[in-house]
């Protein structure tokens, strides 16, 4: 480790900040390509794979499901963290109950409108740890931040919270997704600083 003896910190530290992160008041954008245009009238969210009740919701149908207010810190692998971000969304548990997830699946693969995918262990999306968010800061989620609906898994680095969600697939083996096959950590725990493959 190199100590930079003339380096003077400018930012406050906080017990809410995982290692290597800094607090950001704004809401930066990070995506791999252009922001897709998604029409709410043709939007759908499919749930497939190892479930008894595969389903495809329209925007109207999805918005009838019961939602929760979520206030959580979020941590992006590009180093910023945002405290107390305010979302509204359908708890994953609710989706589990509706589609009747079978006993077999080990992972959820989230698919997005732009072809993006990310993988999540089942344990990390059950027990109140994950939502499908439909509102941010009491308003619709802006397109550049993943609207109309994005996954929200705040305890992992934010690339796991797939933007522009359109499919949830329950599978019985791990399938590393877009960033996970391009040098980023397969799990992504900010508190362990699991940013890259060798972390």
């Amino acid at each position: 480790m190199i100590i930079n003896d003339d380096f003077i910190p400018k930012r406050k530290t906080s017990s809410k900040l995982p290692p290597g992160q800094y607090e950001e008041r704004g809401f930066p954008v990070l995506s791999l390509g252009p922001t897709p245009d998604i029409d709410i009238n043709t939007w759908k969210l499919e749930v497939t794979g190892l479930v008894d009740n595969p389903i495809s919701w329209t925007w109207q149908e999805f918005n009838k499901l019961s939602k929760e207010l979520i206030i959580k810190d979020i941590h992006c692998v590009t180093k910023w963290s945002k405290f107390d971000s305010k979302w509204e969304g359908v708890p994953m548990q609710e989706i589990f109950n509706i589609v009747k997830v079978q006993p077999g699946p080990t992972h959820l693969i989230a698919h997005s409108y732009d072809g993006y995918t990310t993988n999540l262990p089942i344990e990390d999306i059950s027990n109140g740890k994950a939502w499908v968010a439909t509102a941010y800061d009491s308003d619709e989620i802006e397109a550049e931040h993943g609207g109309p609906a994005r996954l929200l898994v705040p305890h992992l680095y934010f690339w796991k919270s797939a933007k522009w969600l359109n499919k949830l697939e329950f599978v019985d083996r791990d399938q590393p997704g877009f960033w996970e096959t391009r040098g980023y950590h397969n799990y992504g725990d900010p508190w362990q600083e699991q940013r890259y493959w060798n972390d």
Partner: protein
């Protein structure tokens, strides 16, 4: 200095690793008390420049890491992790015209791509007839003032040596009297004029810079009919 507000920094690495043009490193600073700050910086040098990594760091006056890097004395060390990134990358094996669009310090990773290309200009063409000597490249630059255009001299030199490269700059704030180029932000009309002929080709586009810049340019490119899957973006924040 490679522009008014961007400084070029070159480090030699004890364990240099090969990388792809477009990738970045994380630079981590650790204060004596253990406090750490870490930021990403794109590689400006070409993968052929073995042993070293060059960056282009823009100064944010009240920033934490960039002012420190600006004041870094020669011979000082910093901790670096990388190379990182597997999406915003390009190398000479990728067929088709190359479109590079950079705003401010967003030119840094694009410069690595251009330098990589230039290093292969004299390679013999592949059996299919591909080769860098024939590669068409457009490098679009948006800068606040003439002095804010990064790597100006080098771009002029590369542009004059390689007839298939088209360097187009637009100056958004304070264009000199003598400036005959564009004097506005990159918009749809400008993109159409310069890039229109690459629609429906296998051209690959790389857009890099501050988030609002990338959002706007990528949106216009899509509206012009360029395929999302041929457009790669890197947002520096801000």
């Amino acid at each position: 200095m490679v522009a008014d507000n961007v400084m070029s920094l070159t480090f030699s690495l004890p364990q240099w690793q090969s990388f792809k043009a477009g990738q970045h490193y994380d630079i981590r600073l650790t204060a004596p008390g253990g406090y750490m700050a870490e930021r990403s910086y794109s590689i400006a040098s070409s993968p052929e420049d073995k042993g070293i990594v060059e960056y282009g760091v823009q100064l944010l006056e009240d920033g934490e890491v960039s002012p420190y890097l600006w004041k870094l004395a020669e011979g000082k060390q910093v901790e670096m992790r990388g190379p990182i990134g597997g999406h915003f990358i390009w190398d000479v094996s990728v067929p088709g015209p190359l479109i590079l669009i950079g705003g401010g310090s967003g030119m840094v990773p694009l410069m690595s791509m251009l330098r990589h290309h230039a290093n292969h200009l004299d390679d013999p063409p592949s059996p299919e007839g591909f080769g860098e000597a024939k590669r068409e490249i457009v490098f679009m630059i948006s800068a606040r003032t003439y002095e804010h255009i990064l790597y100006r001299r080098e771009l002029e030199r590369i542009g004059s040596q390689d007839r298939n490269i088209n360097v187009v700059a637009t100056i958004t704030d304070n264009a000199p009297e003598s400036w005959s180029g564009y004097k506005r932000r990159i918009d749809k009309e400008m993109l159409e004029e310069i890039l229109g002929k690459y629609k429906n080709t296998d051209a690959k586009t790389f857009i890099c810079g501050p988030t609002p810049f990338v959002e706007a340019v990528a949106k216009h490119m899509k509206a012009l009919g360029f395929k999302s899957s041929d457009i790669k973006t890197e947002r520096f924040g801000g």
